[in-house]
């Protein structure tokens, strides 16, 4: 106990040095927490934007559908399956789709497109499709009309009120053909989606393809996207092997790869930050060793065992590190929450590019507690590791040499 008391007093014997060390730790924790939470926040936002285009966080298909996306690999919709899905506490909603390909024609033009039969209300809850309508109006369930993506409408030179003709292959090889008025135009950030999607209500799509009661996918939204993998695993167990659960990471591996690459780049930046922290802390430790070398020699001379001296120095380091880390974490909490509620906004041309691709031009922070804990711990461990240097010097300390002026 007396050792701790002495360590506490020693921590404050050179107030300026202790404050400088604590400030270095404090700012290190704040900077690393902000960097980490900003990185995750940006990626979370990117994923949110990506999945809200179309895919959702999770999709359920008939096993084998993803490899061969044809109507013959569709499955019959059922209340029992839907209830099993919705029973999971992390799932906030689902929407059904029947997707296939068709040739879309206007008077003189034809283009291949993805026909998505959707449940308009549920689809809007999950992908905010209604917000993407830039001309005309959104669909109702019993409509026999369609929404065209802007790029596709442009290619076919169609506007709202015009008629589009669809020709394709239906369920089990039947011919699928029909003509539908264009009720609205939707615009996506993704050029790929914008050039080739056509939406129609699910009953109309089933009628077109002769696929009564059939679906190609359930699209699922999540309460906590961080629990994506465990939710997918549990869902797979709940619905059995005939249906296959896929996460957005499996459906869009290129996006996942992009995030991984960017994360690694960010790790280099964090590494540089940690290196600066090391220099800051190590500098003050060196100062401390020079300043107290004589005293340490004297303590060993009068009979203080080196292990006790090591304990004393370790306790001093822990006090300083803990105080710096705790203060850093405490101050970073409101800062991170503020930047989450009021994200950094990008302006100018970059913002326009973001908007054009359907992304919000913002950099929000992630408020996941793991950032505060992990970054605090990392800085604490770096400090502890650097504290080994004075301990090493104590082990090698020679009282006579240390007391030589």
């Amino acid at each position: 106990m007396w050792l701790l008391k002495m360590a506490w007093k020693n921590s404050w014997r050179n107030r300026n040095r202790t404050i400088i060390t604590m400030a270095a730790i404090f700012f290190a924790v704040i900077l690393s927490v902000i960097t980490g939470s900003l990185q995750d926040g940006i990626f979370d936002n990117l994923v949110k934007n990506m999945v809200s285009y179309y895919s959702g966080y999770i999709q359920v298909h008939k096993t084998g559908y993803w490899d061969e996306q044809i109507l013959d690999n569709s499955f019959a919709s059922g209340k029992i399956t839907e209830q099993a899905i919705l029973r999971h506490e992390n799932i906030t909603g689902l929407t059904s789709r029947l997707e296939s390909f068709a040739l879309a024609s206007s008077e003189n033009l034809t283009k291949g497109c993805l026909v998505a039969g959707i449940d308009p209300d549920n689809e809007n809850r999950i992908t905010n499709l209604k917000d993407k309508v830039v001309a005309g109006t959104y669909l109702y369930e019993n409509d026999k009309s369609v929404l065209l993506s802007k790029g596709l409408a442009g290619r076919l030179q169609l506007n709202t009120g015009d008629t589009v003709i669809l020709i394709g292959q239906g369920y089990h090889g039947a011919t699928a053909a029909g003509k539908y008025p264009v009720k609205g135009i939707v615009q996506f950030g993704s050029p790929d989606l914008n050039d080739r999607v056509l939406f129609m209500p699910l009953p109309a799509a089933r009628e077109l393809y002769g696929a009564e009661q059939m679906l190609t996918s359930y699209v699922i939204s999540l309460r906590d996207p961080a629990r994506l993998a465990t939710t997918a695993e549990r869902l797979q167990l709940a619905i059995g092997n005939e249906l296959h659960v896929m996460t957005w990471e499996e459906m869009m591996p290129d996006v996942k790869q992009h995030i991984t690459t960017d994360s690694n780049n960010m790790k280099i930046i964090q590494g540089i930050l940690y290196l600066l922290i090391c220099f800051g802390i190590f500098g003050t430790l060196l100062m401390m060793m020079v300043e107290r070398k004589y005293e340490m020699g004297m303590l060993v001379a009068i009979g203080m065992r080196k292990i006790k001296l090591i304990g004393l120095l370790m306790a001093e380091s822990v006090f300083t590190l803990l105080s710096g880390c705790a203060l850093g974490i405490l101050c970073s909490v409101p800062l991170v929450f503020h930047l989450n509620r009021h994200p950094l906004r990008i302006g100018g041309e970059t913002a326009e590019i973001y908007k054009r691709f359907g992304f919000e031009p913002i950099f929000p922070t992630s408020t996941d507690a793991i950032h505060f804990v992990s970054q605090g711990l990392i800085v604490f461990c770096i400090g502890l590791l650097l504290s080994l240097y004075p301990l090493y010097k104590v082990v090698r300390l020679n009282a006579v040499t240390a007391m030589r002026k």
């Binding site: 002495m6 007093k9 004589y294 009068i302 203080m304 065992r305 006579v400």
Partner: protein
């Protein structure tokens, strides 16, 4: 009853043994009995501090043996030596060297905490020592709130707190004015007389030499004189 406190045989300490050997201590014999009040004198570089370091177990001789209270300290390992010093030797340094963050009382208590002395006994010993050094009213002052002389008296109390076999003092009055130096010497002499504490101190200070019961003179690492002290003016053997 054996009264021998320090018995050093043929001790030598050589620096740069492989290049140009410098004999800081050269084949020295030293015998000190309990209750001695001994001054170690000699010119700068004569080996006073080296000899104190050797008999204080801070340094090891290149040859010879040092036996303190029956223990050959030259055969002890580093950790054993630290423990030996804690229980057997008191140190007073030239520049006081009190721990600045502790009060005078805590500085004296510190040694006993290292020795794991119980609180009741610590309190008793601290009060007794502060009475002996005449600083009962300054017990709770920090070193920075004490004068140089007062700090050195506290350092003496700290050296005695562990009830050592002897106290080593390296130039204890070097940083003190005359009044403080006389005061410190009075206290050391009183403790030597009343508690039979053995003191050995290196010094250049004539006032200290005159108060010593025995004066050992070192020149070039060798003892050139070892005699009962008389006033310096009448002493022909002391080399300065």
């Amino acid at each position: 009853m054996n009264n021998t406190v320090i018995d050093a045989h043929n001790i030598s300490r050589v620096y740069n043994p492989e290049t140009i050997p410098v004999y800081a201590i050269n084949n020295v014999h030293l015998h000190l009995e309990k209750g001695e009040f001994t001054a170690l004198v000699g010119p700068s570089g004569s080996g006073k501090t080296t000899l104190l370091n050797l008999i204080g177990g801070l340094d090891k001789p290149d040859s010879g043996h040092i036996i303190i209270g029956g223990t050959d300290i030259t055969s002890l390992r580093a950790n054993e030596l630290i423990n030996f010093r804690l229980h057997n030797i008191g140190f007073v340094f030239q520049s006081f060297n009190l721990i600045p963050v502790l009060t005078a009382r805590e500085n004296v208590e510190f040694i006993m905490l290292l020795q794991k002395v119980k609180r009741k006994e610590r309190d008793k010993r601290v009060i007794q020592l502060f009475k002996q050094i005449g600083l009962e009213d300054k017990m709770n002052n920090r070193p920075v709130q004490l004068s140089g002389g007062q700090q050195q008296r506290v350092a003496v109390a700290r050296a005695l707190a562990s009830k050592p076999q002897f106290v080593l003092a390296d130039e204890p009055t070097a940083n003190l004015d005359s009044a403080a130096a006389f005061n410190l010497l009075d206290i050391m002499a009183k403790l030597n007389k009343e508690e039979n504490t053995t003191f050995i101190f290196s010094t250049h200070d004539q006032r200290v030499i005159e108060r010593a019961k025995r004066v050992i003179t070192l020149v070039d690492g060798k003892i050139t004189a070892d005699t009962a002290a008389v006033p310096l003016t009448n002493h022909k053997l002391i080399v300065t």
